[in-house]
Subunit: 228 residues, 2 copies
DNA sequence: TCACTACTGACAGTTAATGTCAGTAGTGTT
DNA sequence: AACACTACTGACATTAACTGTCAGTAGTGA
């Protein structure tokens, strides 16, 4: 079992690093010969662990193996299932995609008892409320937020009044059933909140804006929280 | 590595069973001696696997180890985080509790890159919208649904009209921001849908009702889906 | 008491793992 | 081209770990 323990430790050592690590360093840490490290690395690779080794550089774990496994309780899994269903229906299309595949993984390992509890569907998030176009719009907005790109939107408000604006998108908020975009409006030189389902069109302008402490989603919401 | 592989297979064999399994059966399946099985079981227990052995009965895996670890991609983890935040704010209190602890586990293993993406909070589910009383009411309703218990509710509808009814609760539906209780109303002898936030009080009656194909959440929703 | 099981120690034989040594090969710098 | 640094492989003597058989202990239920 000593070797099996060492293999586990090897993966842990590789997983915690950004830079490559040499066989010599590993052998010193684990107190074995370099030859043993070479054998261990080969064993791990044969069993599917994606290790990359470069002569003159050292070893690195493929980025996708960076994430360790997670252990959840029954209660946690049922909560994750419910949350995934909410994201699937109400989230932007990127998040919805992640939720669907996570949901597949979770249901694949559910024991019969929990599977029956989930499939009894006594707690339901209806799929038919899903709006694919809105989810895609939310994804595009999210990408603009993340990239700090100024955008132009055409917007139809509650009174059906039409407007076109250049805005700096700061973030998205889920109010339960409705997402809004918080942005800094270049026309009004102030924050504005837009319901995503009322955005008629969206155009990215390829103009990058600057992030500021006093011009952010957090700053906007701190004002809102004081009111309620 | 043969032994390490066998240890893995042992856990898998134990995990897939409800009834206890003897060392003799395991030795025949894995084609080793019983003495080796005793050694293997001891090695697994020393490394933390919760196996229970009873003389005259056999071995069983502690129930909490029934669930294997899960491996998620970055995209899936971010979706699970978003979903957990939704459940935390909008779910019933049991689900919210599960979501909070799942969220702790996920954030504990998040690499720096993803942690920063999550903490930038460009995609927000506000916690201040959480309603603890409503979440507790939802949990009580969920328990009644699961136990098929008839309940009495006092309800105030859209027009502020007050009513008191005995109902058989069939399930809960999340419409995005609002949950409704689907129930069979004993007064009207028909389905009725109640917004949870309009339920003034709830009393369990300790009268068990019968589940039927034609008196269920699914049946009710199949009618609704045809209308839209 | 008997039948069934889990459990432990001891020991000879078997198998796996280890470190040392020698050699191959790739990359970057001088 | 030579050198320094690294990854890599095969061979072999030595060491460590593992295995099955055997004998014995102990718990549970009929």
């Amino acid at each position: 079992m000593r070797k099996a323990e060492r293999l586990f430790q090897l993966v842990t050592l590789l997983r915690g690093r950004r830079l490559a690590i040499t066989a010599k360093q590993l052998s010193e840490t684990l107190e074995v010969s370099e030859r043993t490290i070479y054998r261990d690395i080969q064993a791990l690779m044969l069993s599917g662990v994606p290790i990359e080794g470069e002569a003159g550089i050292g070893y690195r774990l493929d980025r996708h193996f960076e994430l360790p496994p997670l252990m959840f309780t029954s209660e946690e899994l049922l909560a994750l299932i419910l949350g995934s269903k909410m994201v699937k229906t109400w989230g932007d299309s990127v998040a919805a995609r992640g939720a669907v595949s996570a949901l597949d993984k979770i249901t694949a390992i559910l024991p019969e008892r929990l599977k029956q509890q989930d499939q009894s569907e006594l707690l339901l998030v209806p799929e038919f409320l899903q709006n694919k176009n809105l989810a895609q719009l939310a994804s595009d907005l999210r990408a603009a937020v993340e990239s700090c790109l100024t955008i132009n939107i055409e917007y139809q408000d509650e009174q059906k009044r039409f407007s076109s604006r250049n805005i700096e998108p700061l973030g998205l908020v889920y109010w339960g059933g409705k997402w809004t975009l918080i942005a800094f409006c270049l026309l009004r030189q102030d924050y504005r909140e837009f319901r995503i389902d009322r955005i008629v069109s969206l155009t990215c302008l390829d103009i990058q804006f600057e992030k500021l402490e006093t011009k952010s989603l957090k700053h906007y919401l701190s004002q809102f929280a004081c009111h309620s």
